[in-house]
Symmetry: C2
């Protein structure tokens, strides 16, 4: 198990929340209780005010980011991290536009999901409500703070936000602007709290009862570390090992296009494929075309013995089948049939997104029914596994946990429900002793 | 943090799954993949066959239970545990009837929850599917094995079942009957596996990837121990600290009836109240009647200073407000107003079920909106917080986690969903470069 800080691998070694952190978390929770009772219009206005305040503070935010970038350069931060840290004016404007789009989404709160008369005068409802308080831990990317803060407020949740140390100045400037924006609205600015030290973000993992969901936005190592060190539910995924299976009945032109897109359109994404499974019957013809095409796109191929016999130069090891490369490497295995492909995915997959390319409706149906991943695709790129592409308007994250919310998660990841029961003095003893009976009559929603 | 075995408090000290346990878990998972693809009728028939096999094996099951009871008596098992361990013919017949009732429930699988055209020829669906494999850990109660096995098969899930050591013979006889029943059906008997050693149940907590949900049925200590030692989601609740608030505008006859029922109808239940909050304005009149009535029902009362001044003999300590007595003890606090009641519940409650007794619609609405527990009740007993009473037909458990499934959980606690995307060669690059646009058109469900 990897950990960003091996000395903290023992949960008992996590710092206890300081009285000051507890007080701040309680304040967020209290403010969130008020936020949960605001109207849709009030939360929409709050988001508009947040957007306006960010726009008004664009200059200091970009300047703060510039200072972070200079410090990062001095510290020799890796170029990939520097790119994610950078928040220039166009990127900020994009993030502000995202806040306005969130304001326009339908209210996820107050929806009646269930309505049952248990007995005369005893009526049960189930209503969508906010989770309460979310704890968000980012690596680099200060614009994510804007997105998550807006998602939280839109869905009626308070948030404890912890940005990366390298983005401290940017996050602080953004947080100040967001709270300034909220000051004149019905939403208490105390709903958004910024944590600044690593000590605090570790201690936050112990705030069960005050924090309802932890959302880690960063590396697999970060997610896994957090999952291992908290009793609070974690929305995230530690692995994205996605497969494309090219069936015997595949349209090979299509299969080639899907392979290239699934691997190379954005290879660092979790929904990019790591392994290509090819039916033995079409492997010679398909690999003859796919190997040069993928190599021309800069992909390093690693094959099993059969794939190597068909032109792949590098042999895959057992480790390759369970590796998320997050880059331009692709393992390739030739399988005897659909069953072997299914067995491979069951064994090595991470239940994220897996696709089949076939023109055979029976093979398609079997694959779609048997693969138990969050996304199971037919004849399209795995890269579509994304909240925006699914039409959710915004994305909290992608979950590879089996329980809902699963897959790309929109606002529904930040809401839950509550049962409301109204009676007229009803007591359980009357039903236990048989003097009254439940009717369990469904009422209109 | 309490732990049934302090020497295992360090997760690193949990035993690694043995090759044999891994093989059995993989076999259950593989069988569950087949089960997930059975029809509603096939799963209904399987439950009928399970019920018939249990009925046919009633004699050996009751005899095995008798042997467990004798061993328990010899070991000096606590009477409460012996009562839960006992499975006589009437109790077994009740459990068998429960299996038949589950067969009659609507199929939770294959429901289309979302249907969107992302673009011409690219169609997204979200379908309800089983979780996969559930791991269930019981203390005593062998009839729970029957209920959970039936719930699992009805919802298309495999199950690893671990009964208490004291119920080993009973569980083994039940498990044998269930598998015998399944043998002639479309459901592979390998879907139900019985674990017998404590070693195995601890190792099961490490089977993430093979087990999708852990359901502990037992003491708070068991639940908390499991939550602290697994990365697999746990359905359960460690605490049930429920409140009844008697408002200034309460009908005091009703308040008295609700107090008695909420506390005494089944005091060991998690949905029984532990604390009574009474508005100062009605406290003298209410407590004058409630104290003798509760004491006559055998309830030991512990009051704050104001409550003691109004006739309660025993002073509550700070610990009382956060204690789940699971028995005939009730703490009583006099509060100045609704706000103080809400603050008390926010601070000490476990977000399980909390009720207000009032005739004031404004107070009712404020309470129902502000208390963020799984159940928020008006003028009825907290004892209604139960899957059967809610009309779910069966109960997997009650969850005090904030995320869904929350509160009393029926079959929906054992299902999840999967996204299915069918395309015609669609690739993400076309949308990234602007040559195609998403339509995100809602289609009929």
């Amino acid at each position: 198990m990897s950990s960003p800080n091996p000395s903290a691998a023992d949960p008992a070694a996590l710092p206890e929340p300081s009285p000051e952190l507890l007080a701040r978390a309680v304040a967020v929770r209290r403010a969130a209780t008020g936020l949960a009772q605001t109207t849709d219009a009030e939360r929409r206005s709050a988001l508009e005010a947040m957007a306006a305040a960010l726009a008004a503070a664009a200059e200091p935010i970009v300047a703060a980011n510039q200072a972070d970038l200079e410090a990062a350069a001095a510290d020799g931060l890796a170029p990939a991290l520097v790119a994610r840290l950078k928040l220039d004016l166009p990127k900020l404007e994009g993030a502000i536009e995202g806040v306005r789009q969130l304001a326009a989404l339908d209210d996820p709160l107050g929806r009646r999901q269930l309505h049952t008369e248990l007995d005369t005068g005893l009526v049960l409802e189930r209503l969508s409500v906010p989770l309460g308080v979310v704890g968000v831990i980012f690596e680099a990317r200060p614009d994510a703070v804007i997105q998550i803060a807006a998602l939280a407020i839109r869905s009626g949740n308070g948030a404890l936000l912890k940005g990366g140390r390298e983005a401290a100045r940017s996050c602080s400037a953004i947080h100040a602007a967001l709270r300034r924006g909220l000051a004149a609205t019905a939403v208490d600015p105390s709903c958004l709290e910024l944590l600044t030290s690593r000590q605090e973000s570790l201690a936050m993992l112990k705030l069960d009862g005050l924090v309802d969901l932890i959302i880690p936005r960063g590396s697999n190592a970060l997610v896994r570390y957090i999952q291992d060190h908290t009793r609070i539910p974690v929305l995230g995924h530690a692995d994205g090992i996605c497969h494309l299976y090219v069936d015997a009945a595949a349209d090979l032109d299509q299969a080639l296009r899907l392979s290239l897109d699934s691997k190379t359109q954005y290879p660092a994404a979790c929904n990019a494929i790591e392994t290509l499974l090819v039916h033995r019957a079409v492997a010679p013809e398909f690999l003859r075309r796919a190997v040069p095409a993928l190599e021309a796109a800069g992909v390093e191929l690693r094959g099993d013995a059969s794939a190597c016999a068909l032109g792949i130069g590098l042999a895959a090891t057992e480790d390759d089948w369970s590796s998320e490369y997050s880059g331009l490497i692709l393992s390739v295995r030739v399988v005897d049939d659909l069953n072997q492909a299914l067995e491979h995915i069951r064994r090595y997959g991470s239940r994220h997104t897996d696709a089949i390319c076939t023109t055979d409706p029976l093979a398609a149906d079997r694959f779609l029914a048997a693969v138990d991943s969050a996304g199971v695709y037919l004849n399209c790129s795995t890269r579509f596994a994304d909240g925006f592409r699914y039409g959710f308007g915004a994305e909290v994250g992608i979950s590879t946990q089996t329980l809902p919310p699963r897959g790309p998660v929109g606002l529904e990841g930040l809401i839950t429900y509550r049962y409301r029961l109204r009676g007229e003095g009803h007591i359980a003893a009357d039903y236990a002793n048989g003097s009254r009976q439940f009717s369990h009559r469904a009422l209109p929603l």
